[in-house]
């Protein structure tokens, strides 16, 4: 399972990077979304899939899965949501002001130096 997951994680990262490098602003943002999915699964896979019960105390259960990666991912999910929201609004404002979402044109100008 771990090996299969590794391949999937690689695939997710590949797709995310491809989208990040594209010229359309929306695709870049979608790329960041995929990137965080990849990262979350990576943390989970690194922790391993040992254990047979969710990490909640219950009578007679001692074989929990590792709770630490889950705690880390939980934080990461929330943060990535914040980032996505900020990106979206930034894209919206940039498009409003500059009337383009082409990354090539969004590179600023050389006047300031």
């Amino acid at each position: 399972m771990e090996i299969l997951m590794s391949v999937i994680i690689g695939f997710l990262f590949m797709a995310a990077v491809y989208l990040l490098l594209s010229r359309s602003l929306l695709r870049v943002i979608i790329g960041t979304g995929l990137l965080s999915h990849g990262a979350h699964l990576l943390i989970l896979t690194m922790g391993g899939f040992e254990g047979s019960a969710p990490p909640v105390l219950a009578d007679g259960v001692t074989d929990f899965v590792d709770p630490l990666p889950q705690a880390l991912i939980l934080t990461a999910i929330v943060i990535s949501f914040g980032v996505t929201a900020l990106f979206l609004v930034m894209a919206y404002r940039a498009y409003q002001e500059l009337e383009t979402d082409n990354m090539t044109l969004l590179k600023g100008n050389d006047e300031h130096d």
């Binding site: 999937i8 990262f13 797709a15």
Partner: protein, 805 residues
């Protein structure tokens, strides 16, 4: 301990200077500042009896004990001599500056803060036994020198000179640090004393020569030796008290101090002997030769300083040569070390007074251009007298101190001719001849300086101000120095016994055990005609003749092509460094996020894959892996399908929905991996995210590829594939080898007893790692404020600006 703290007394005093300068405007700030060097001078005088008998005073204050870095004040003959120079000349310079700098017009607060900062730095350089502390103080002298040269920062030339001196001396300082580190590697200690005690072992080490060369680069840049001297003439933009203090009497002598201090370690090397001596003699000649070309009074003095520093440097080289002579203490080789220190004292006295004279002339006539000056003798008789004393001492004539040290210098150079070491024997003779020629030029520029200014025809119409004698207060300091110059001639052995010999014993421990062993007796007349006296007479005759003929040959200097000078080289390398670096950074910083991402991704891939290959870290093991269930396979297929959809989607709605689908699949994966909290959170977040996307959807542009060319896409795909491959390999390796056990056992064991909760993940978040969660909330709030700001804030309104039309 007290002596260490006193190193910082000037800096602490500097804290009060801005207050005094602002509140007590009626009194010149200099009067308060004057107390600092005077008190320190008296304090250091107290060490004289102890040091004269070969004693040392050591004060220590731990700074970074774990690295063996301490603040030490190590006062032996050499450091005491320098400390007395720094505080003594410092007192006179501060006194002089009170009359030189107008309390109404100048920003005195800045000036005295920088000056006091320098005083601490310089005292630190000469007293630190720890090389790291020495380096720190060393760079602080460069910084305070930079600030003082740039004191009149509105002038272009000041800023140029300040930057030039800083670049050159800091470059040297860094090289010196390299030398120190090498010494540490060799000897295992930062203490100079301890390194000196293990000098014979160090000389055998393979890094010895490297350390030597690096250290000399530091000394040569600081002491303005050829070819690094070019910063010193430009440093003359500083106010004259600064030139007298930093750029003739103290800071530029830090390089000499360094060479003297490390002579016991490096004297064993022939490279040291010949490098120090040859560069010294070359600088001596070069400086004296070009001093005659200058038309600015301070310019002449700057080149003269360069030349005199070269002289002392060459003597230090000759002092090191004595290491290679058997029974050097009995032969003529004993003179060089004494001459070096003796001339150092002499030079500080006469050059300090001459700089102050140049300042007075500038102050009272409004110009330092020697072509406009002349005939000031009648108008400024006192100034002229002091100038004459200083100049004749510089020229090496009796009855002034300079005569004695010039004689000793010639003895030192003569001894080199006898030396049969490493280089062909004739090399010593070449140095002797060059030194003699340089002395002739020294004679010429000394006369040029004093006679062109004070004799000849007075040209009142060329002067911005009508010349008159300086106020008495301004004359005090140069007069005191002038008196010292005369006094040294009459009681040279008093100075020699009390100040010079203890320092010599510190420089040449391989010859002397205590200052009393230094068997040098200075005398103006040896009872018979010595070769040195013959050479001096030759210098006087040749000098007088050439000075007489000066108008006939001074034009020769113009024949020297400007584009070949070191200054030109400095200017053009600065220009190329600036524009070249600018062009270089522009060539890759093109403003495209894509380019930057490509740099980062390639960097990460190269580093991670490279180190995986180098460390043979890649491993795949199917052992102990969890079984693959049908539900998971199904989910993963859906995940792949939705990711592919986002990649190829032509419509933005498709892409957003596919992204949402991927998010939900990840949530379901969390369920299968027994992470209920994650699954719940992911479901909520994904729902909100999709809603957000759809909300923004209305305002966002249609999805367009913006004519991405095939090459562009293939490039992206390659980078993406590399990153994907790297992540896959990384994930496999980390899943296949558990180097360390998980630390979560602790949480599992204590979650109920310590935190009273059952859901381990939740308890970790809100209890064990509560601060993480707090900051996570902070991040979310910042994002929220950012979003609010972006939506509300309208810096440019549509239609308002002309560009938009």
């Amino acid at each position: 301990m007290i002596s260490v703290l006193l190193l910082f007394a000037p800096v602490i005093a500097a804290l009060f200077v801005p207050f005094l300068a602002n509140r007590l405007r009626g009194i010149h700030t200099g009067w308060f500042v004057l107390a600092v060097p005077v008190l320190l001078f008296i304090y250091y005088l107290g060490f004289l009896p102890q040091v004269k008998d070969g004693g040392v005073h050591i004060g220590e204050l731990a700074w970074i004990p774990s690295y063996g870095i301490t603040l030490t004040s190590y006062i032996d003959g050499l450091s005491l001599l320098f400390s007395l120079l720094i505080t003594g000349i410092g007192s006179l310079v501060v006194l002089y500056s009170i009359f030189y700098l107008d309390k109404e017009k100048e920003r005195l607060g800045n000036f005295y803060v920088y000056l006091l900062m320098f005083m601490t730095a310089m005292l630190g350089v000469v007293q630190s036994d720890n090389m790291i502390a020495l380096y720190g103080f060393w760079e602080l002298t460069s910084i305070s020198s930079f600030l003082l040269i740039g004191y009149w920062y509105t002038r272009d030339k000041s800023r140029f000179g300040a930057l030039k001196s800083m670049l050159i001396t800091v470059f040297g300082g860094l090289m010196m640090l390299g030398g120190f580190v090498l010494l540490y590697i060799m000897g295992g200690t930062f203490s100079v004393r301890e390194l000196v005690s293990m000098a014979p072992e160090l000389a055998e080490h393979s890094l010895f020569t490297w350390a030597l060369v690096l250290l000399l680069l530091g000394a040569f840049t600081k002491s303005a030796q050829f070819p690094f001297y070019i910063w010193l003439p430009d440093a003359m933009e500083a106010p004259t008290p600064v030139s007298a203090y930093l750029h003739s009497a103290t800071m530029v002598k830090a390089g000499l101090y360094l060479v003297a201090r490390f002579t016991p370690i490096f004297a064993a090397s022939e490279i040291w002997v010949w490098l120090v001596t040859s560069i010294g003699v070359l600088t001596l000649f070069w400086g004296s030769f070009f001093a005659v070309k200058q038309t600015d009074l301070k310019g002449i003095l700057a080149f003269s300083t360069v030349s005199q520093l070269g002289l002392i440097m060459s003597l230090l080289g000759a002092a090191a040569a004595a290491f290679h002579v058997d029974g050097a203490a009995e032969t003529m080789f004993k003179y060089a070390g004494f001459a070096a220190i003796f001339h150092l004292v002499n030079h500080a006295a006469f050059k300090g007074s001459l700089f102050m004279i140049a300042g007075i002339v500038d102050h009272e006539t409004g110009t330092r251009d020697i072509r406009k000056l002349g005939g000031l003798m009648a108008l400024m008789p006192v100034t002229f007298t002091i100038a004459l004393v200083g100049s004749l001492s510089m020229a090496g004539l009796p009855p002034f101190g300079g005569f004695l040290s010039k004689e000793l210098f010639l003895t030192g150079m003569l001894s080199l001719g006898e030396l049969d070491l490493f280089a062909p024997a004739s090399w010593g003779t070449v140095l002797l001849v060059v030194a003699w020629i340089a002395s002739v030029f020294t004679f010429i520029y000394s006369f040029y300086f004093v006679l062109r200014t004070f004799t000849g025809k007075h040209k009142p119409d060329l002067l911005p101000k009508s010349a008159h004698e300086a106020p008495a207060g301004m004359l005090v300091s140069p007069a005191v120095l002038g008196l010292i110059v005369v006094a040294i001639f009459f009681v040279p052995n008093f100075i020699g016994d009390w100040i010079v010999k203890p320092a010599v014993a510190a420089v040449q421990p391989f010859m002397y055990n205590s200052p009393a062993d230094v068997d040098v007796h200075v005398a103006a007349w040896h009872g018979h005609v010595t070769p040195e006296l013959m050479m001096t007479i030759g210098i006087v005759i040749a000098g007088l003749v050439l000075y007489w003929l000066l108008p006939k040959w001074q034009g020769l200097y113009r024949a020297f092509p400007e584009y070949l000078t070191l200054n030109k080289f400095y200017d053009s390398s600065m220009y190329f460094a600036e524009s070249g670096m600018n062009r270089l950074s522009r060539s890759y910083m093109d403003g495209q996020i894509r380019s930057y991402l490509i740099y980062m991704f390639s960097g990460i891939v190269i580093i991670v894959l490279g180190s995986m290959i180098a460390k043979d870290a890649f491993q795949v093991s199917f052992e102990g892996t969890a079984p693959i269930g049908p539900a998971e396979v199904g989910l993963l297929l859906v995940l792949v399908a939705s990711v592919v959809t986002t990649l190829v989607a032509r419509k933005r709605l498709t892409a957003i929905i596919a992204l949402g689908a991927a998010g939900y699949v990840v949530a379901l994966l969390f369920v299968t991996f027994k992470a209920p909290d994650l699954a719940l959170t992911q479901l909520v977040i994904e729902t909100v995210s999709v809603a957000l996307y759809l909300l923004a959807f209305y305002h966002l542009p249609k999805m367009s590829r913006h004519d991405e060319k095939r090459k562009f896409r293939v490039g992206n795909a390659l980078i993406a594939a590399a990153v994907g491959l790297m992540m896959a390999l990384l994930a496999m390796s980390s899943a296949s080898q558990k180097a360390l056990p998980s630390i979560s056992q602790y949480y599992k064991d204590t979650v109920y007893s310590e935190a009273g909760g059952g859901n381990i993940v939740n308890v970790i978040l809100v209890d064990y790692r509560g601060f993480d969660t707090l900051f996570e909330i902070a991040v979310l709030s910042i994002a929220a404020i950012g979003i609010l700001g972006l939506i509300r804030l309208r810096l440019t309104r549509k239609g308002d600006s002309g560009e938009k039309q």
